[in-house]
Structures are given as structure tokens and as C-alpha cells.
């Protein structure tokens, strides 16, 4: 029975099966790896301003010494939508999605850091 089923698989089909399996494994590792962040920590002036889950889309206004920074959370991603800092580095960084990513607006002393279930090593943490 088994050999009978195998004779219908041509050499290229084995290649397809192999590629398909690799594709599924990579997808699973990428999507279930736990690297996607589920919480954003917003700091202002070095103190935690708010901790928000990424599951709800929202806009948060954070006051700083130069003015108000706007942080938007959408589709499990977070970014600094606007900021009064002169060079706009944190705004230009764009969307943060992975756990451990962080955007800093130093002039306005506002930062957003994403965390997941486990904290990944990076030089900011150690």
C-alpha cells in the first residue's frame, strides 16, 4: 500500500514536498516564535508614563518639555506619529512590531518600547 502510493510521486514532487515543508516550518517559526510584541511601554522624562497592550488601536498623547508627542497603535504595531523634536528621528523610524524594538525622541524625552512574553537581550537592557 505504501509503495503503491509512493510510485505516484515523481522526483520533482519530492522537491515540491520538501520546499513546502520548509516553507511551513519557516512560517510557523516566524509567526509563532513569540517575537511579536504584545505590549508597549511609553516613557516620558525617564519615568513610565503608560503601559498599553497592542491589541487595541488607539492614539496616545504624551506631554514632554518641548510639547506633545503622539503615539499611535494600530494592528499590533506602534509608532510615534508626531513629535516636536527638531530632527524627527523617532518619527522617521516608523512602525515597531518586534519585541525589544524601541523608538526614542530624546529632545522631548519620550520613548516607546515594545515588549513580548520574553525579554530579548539587547544593549539597552544590560
Amino acid at each position: 500500500m505504501h509503495t503503491e502510493a509512493l510510485q505516484h510521486i515523481r522526483p520533482g514532487d519530492w522537491l515540491t514536498l520538501l520546499l513546502g515543508s520548509i516553507f511551513v516550518v519557516l512560517l510557523t517559526l516566524k509567526l509563532w516564535g513569540g517575537d511579536l510584541a504584545d505590549k508597549a511601554i511609553i516613557r516620558s522624562g525617564g519615568k513610565i508614563f503608560r503601559e498599553v497592550p497592542l491589541s487595541r488601536n488607539q492614539q496616545i498623547e504624551v506631554p514632554g518639555p518641548l510639547g506633545v508627542s503622539v503615539i499611535s497603535i494600530q494592528n499590533r504595531k506602534a509608532r510615534i506619529a508626531s513629535d516636536p523634536s527638531p530632527r524627527q528621528y523617532c518619527v522617521r523610524q516608523g512602525w515597531l512590531q518586534q519585541s525589544g524594538e524601541i523608538a526614542l525622541c530624546l529632545p522631548n524625552q519620550v520613548s516607546v518600547e515594545l515588549t513580548g512574553s520574553k525579554k530579548k537581550y539587547d544593549t539597552l537592557n544590560y
Partner: protein
């Protein structure tokens, strides 16, 4: 009152396509009787017919059979123009698109099993696209993708094997293509 008769001119090919689509429809009905652990994880037995038709009569006939099956199936189950119908349609259309390319793979090396696996992945991609762009526009559905991809690989392989085995049997019985395989 005189009875009016509307007569459509149909060719032998039309009848043939209709018969094949009816077989595919039968498999769809059969499949709906099988309980599924997760909505969307289905074996897609009707695609066996699409694969056989593709190998025997080419892509155009396969496209007719597949799309007719989606349309007639939706009328049968009463979900025409509902989200479920568009999920089937997007899956079928992307599968056909993929098969249009996959059918040109060298026949010596690639058989129905490859066609089936590629079509299954295309099918699930089409469905996830509709789910994400229209039904659930939330990145959270990404967590379900590995389940669907695993099911696509598994059922794609099984359907391909069934199609290959069926064609081998039919070829052994009869060297010329048979009119009505079931």
C-alpha cells in the same frame, strides 16, 4: 397558451464540463458532512476533479469546472454572495492562477502531487487575503496562518496522490480518455 421552448445550443464540451462540475459538486457536498476542527480547514476534495480535468483536458476546462463548482455549490448551500462564497471564489481563482503556471512544469518530473500542493498554498493565500483585506483586517489572524499552511500541505499532498492514482487506474483500464470517470 402555447408552451414556449427556450433552447440553448450546447456543445459536447459544455455537457462534458457540466458533468465534471457535477462530480466536483458531489464531492463538495460529501466534504461538508465531514466535521472540521477549525472553520476553513477542509480537505478540498473537489479539487481532485480539477486536477484530473487539468491533466486530461487542459487549463480552460479546469477553470470552467472549478468556477462552476464554486457557483453551484454556493447556490446549493445558500451562501451565494456571502463571505463564505467569496472565500471559496478567491481561493479557487488563485489556485487556477497558480495552476496556469504549474501546468508548464516538466511532466517527467512534476505530477499532480506538485500541482495539488502549489494550488493548495495558492488557495489558502487567496482566502487569507480576503479575510485580511475585508473580513478581519487585523494582524492577529497571522497566528492562524501556520495551521492553514500545514493543512494545505497535508491535504494538497493527499488530493494529489488520489488524483494521480485515479489517472493511473483509468489509464490501465482504458488507453483512451474516458468520458465520465465516476
Amino acid at each position: 397558451m402555447t408552451p414556449s421552448i427556450i433552447k440553448l445550443d450546447t456543445t459536447a464540451e459544455d455537457h462534458h464540463i457540466a458533468r465534471m462540475a457535477a462530480v466536483a459538486l458531489g464531492l463538495t457536498v460529501l466534504e461538508n458532512a465531514i466535521p472540521s476542527p477549525l472553520p476553513g480547514v477542509k480537505p478540498g476534495l473537489a479539487n481532485i476533479v480539477t486536477l484530473i480535468v487539468l491533466a486530461r483536458y487542459g487549463w480552460r476546462v479546469a477553470a470552467w469546472v472549478s468556477l462552476l463548482r464554486v457557483l453551484a455549490g454556493s447556490l446549493l448551500f445558500g451562501n451565494f454572495l456571502s463571505p463564505g462564497f467569496f472565500l471559496s471564489l478567491s481561493g479557487a481563482m488563485l489556485s487556477l492562477l497558480m495552476l496556469a503556471f504549474a501546468q508548464h512544469l516538466p511532466k517527467r518530473w512534476f505530477g499532480p502531487v506538485s500541482h495539488s500542493i502549489y494550488a493548495a498554498f495558492a488557495h489558502i493565500s487567496g482566502q487569507m487575503l480576503v479575510v485580511y483585506l475585508w473580513l478581519i483586517p487585523h494582524a492577529g489572524i497571522a497566528y492562524l496562518i501556520p495551521i492553514f499552511a500545514t493543512a494545505a500541505l497535508l491535504f494538497g499532498t493527499v488530493n494529489g496522490l488520489i488524483a494521480a492514482r485515479f489517472m493511473d487506474n483509468a489509464n490501465a483500464l482504458n488507453s483512451k480518455p474516458i468520458e465520465n470517470p465516476i
